[in-house]
Subunit: 358 residues, 2 copies
């Protein structure tokens, strides 16, 4: 039995409590400052409002003000915030975390600093305290162990104990083994893999490419079915394939393994993300011809659309890297189109003639 | 302007007449012996009964008895029969084809002879006449040029001129260039690629893996939605990913390029095939728990389910190759499960613990 703190009480953070408590662990579920309503509901004994399930008795819900209390005696911290919360999470944990407690992050994204792209575990690490807190040996940034989860995992399904297959990744195989044993259940199937770069790039990029596949929903709605009832699956599939193609380029370029692309983190996660959700909803709006800033403000002001967030987070950096020759100008036409759509309100036009080049 | 014979008047063969006639070519559309009703309809001026469109005026429909008349003066033969018809097509063409007329095949499948797997262009070639017909120089088998089409292409959508992206493949780049120029339109986007093995393996295997993804429709129907409305997309995505993973193994093993897996022929074609169609319908029946032979006989007696046809065509050969050590026993658990289901009426049970191993 382990004592586990989950930071972030959104759907994914909370869903992870299900396999963990099924395995007999104690979970302290700590909301972010945006989760106060959820925490209040859970504390009052109601189901999670977005996940639609009652958390287990072994779960105790805390507000973020109670983080220092909730972290006492824990063996593992799971980070379940969205990509916008990763720096906050690092800073909040930095004040209370011991160096011997590993982190398992389910947050997906990449960061761009204008010159290079970084995977989120590195961003997390970079935002932890440098140097000493209590003793010189306790430099969190240098010594913390971070693992991450990638793979197709709709939170509601995991919470309902439906078969879910994921990869746990870090550079430390022993840590991976330990974490997988803590979390593995007959429905939560876990593989371990040390290709942290490849897996993190895949699971981040899938959001922007799912947004691209989502465009087709809007295109079809605008054009209507054809006289023979034909829809636009060929178009969606070509965009899906180009997304995989570009992901493979980026994975290779950043030092990951392309085999992660044709496995759970790449193909699996992109497939599941195209089955609905916020990227698809925003994609539809963009495909209908609504400029991104208007679509976001009018229709999804309170939703985090991870594909758009990624385009905003890395857009300028990708363009700078192409300009400097660090990324190949011809390798990422769909990503560049999505960046133009999200960052510059460009119309949604598919650049066919630039696809599948390397 | 070229004169093109399309052999096979099913949905895919007929759909290809649309970009070809849009480019000003003359098309002679020749049905197989199963297409007599379709040919009669087309000859009488009705729309294609399954494709839902009227063929162009430049299309002349012929029955297979008229093949020797229809082939006069043609510059290219397109083979649009299904995988069961490939040997018949080769034999029929063998009697009338000149060696200087190239073949472009859209049929997808693999063949197994008990010892090894072959891609369909090789099967086609092997069934053409060996040695002389008119003169010693005219050995069709040795000298015919064969290209193939792979990629996500629902026929009804192509026929409705909806954006469709495919790869033309052969070992001869000049032939590819020529064929792409004949067929490319503003909606039929064509790339050329000499990885004929990789592309053919991808587009064949996608049928059996789409059948596997289709199982989930039946699983979900049997189990129902969860209390929180959760479905089973995580499960479908994991099967999708395992399909890609196994395809990559087979492509590599047979001498193709794994980059075809994360491009149009692999990811794109599997994605589109999972959006519906006969593999999905049969997958649902199997997922509901109906044994394959019963499902086929009772519900789909007149349908070619390409995923099941592939399992039947290569099942014994795959098992023999594993037994001999020519294929790795641990590399293809999902394919072996699908072979068991189709060839031996095994129940549909997903072998999670064997996934993602190499």
């Amino acid at each position: 039995m382990a004592r586990i703190l989950i930071l972030g009480a959104g759907v994914m953070g909370t869903a992870l409590s299900v396999p963990l408590t099924d395995n007999g662990h104690i979970v302290n579920l700590v909301g972010t400052h945006l989760d106060d309503d959820i925490i209040a509901k859970l504390q009052a004994g109601y189901p999670h409002p977005r996940l639609g399930i009652q958390v287990a008795e072994r779960v105790t819900a805390y507000t973020c003000e109670q983080l220092s209390e909730a972290i006492k005696g824990v063996d593992l911290v799971v980070i379940g915030v969205n990509s916008h919360g990763i720096e906050w999470a690092a800073q909040a944990l930095g004040a209370v975390l011991s160096v011997d407690i590993p982190i398992l992050a389910v947050t997906k994204g990449l960061a761009g600093d204008g010159e290079k792209l970084s995977i989120l575990p590195d961003v997390l690490c970079a935002n932890l305290p440098d140097g000493v807190r209590d003793t010189p040996a306790e430099s969190l940034r240098d010594r913390i162990q971070i693992a991450a989860i990638g793979g197709p995992s709709i939170a509601q399904e995991l919470a309902a104990r439906r078969h879910t297959c994921v990869m746990f990744t870090s550079t430390n195989p022993a840590l991976l083994q330990h974490l997988a044993e803590l979390a593995r259940t007959p429905y939560y199937h876990i593989w371990t893999n040390t290709d942290i770069i490849g897996i993190e790039v895949c699971v981040a990029m899938k959001n922007v490419y799912a947004l691209a596949v989502g465009l087709v929903i809007g295109f079809l709605e605008k054009a209507g079915k054809a006289v023979n009832d034909a829809e636009m699956h060929n178009l969606a599939a070509a965009i899906f394939a180009q997304g995989m193609w570009e992901t493979a380029y980026l994975v290779d370029k950043m030092g990951g393994k392309t085999e992660s692309v044709y496995s759970l983190p790449g193909a699996g996660d992109l497939y599941v993300t195209c089955q609905g959700g916020r990227n698809s909803r925003m994609g539809r709006l963009l495909g209908l011809g609504i400029p991104y800033s208007q679509a976001k403000a009018e229709y999804m002001p309170n939703d985090t659309v991870e594909g758009a967030s990624l385009a905003l987070a890395i857009g300028q950096t990708v363009e700078n890297m192409i300009h400097k020759g660090d990324l190949d100008a011809i390798a990422l036409p769909l990503l560049r189109t999505m960046i133009d759509i999200v960052c510059h309100n460009a119309p949604a036009i598919i650049p066919w003639e630039k696809f599948f080049v390397r």
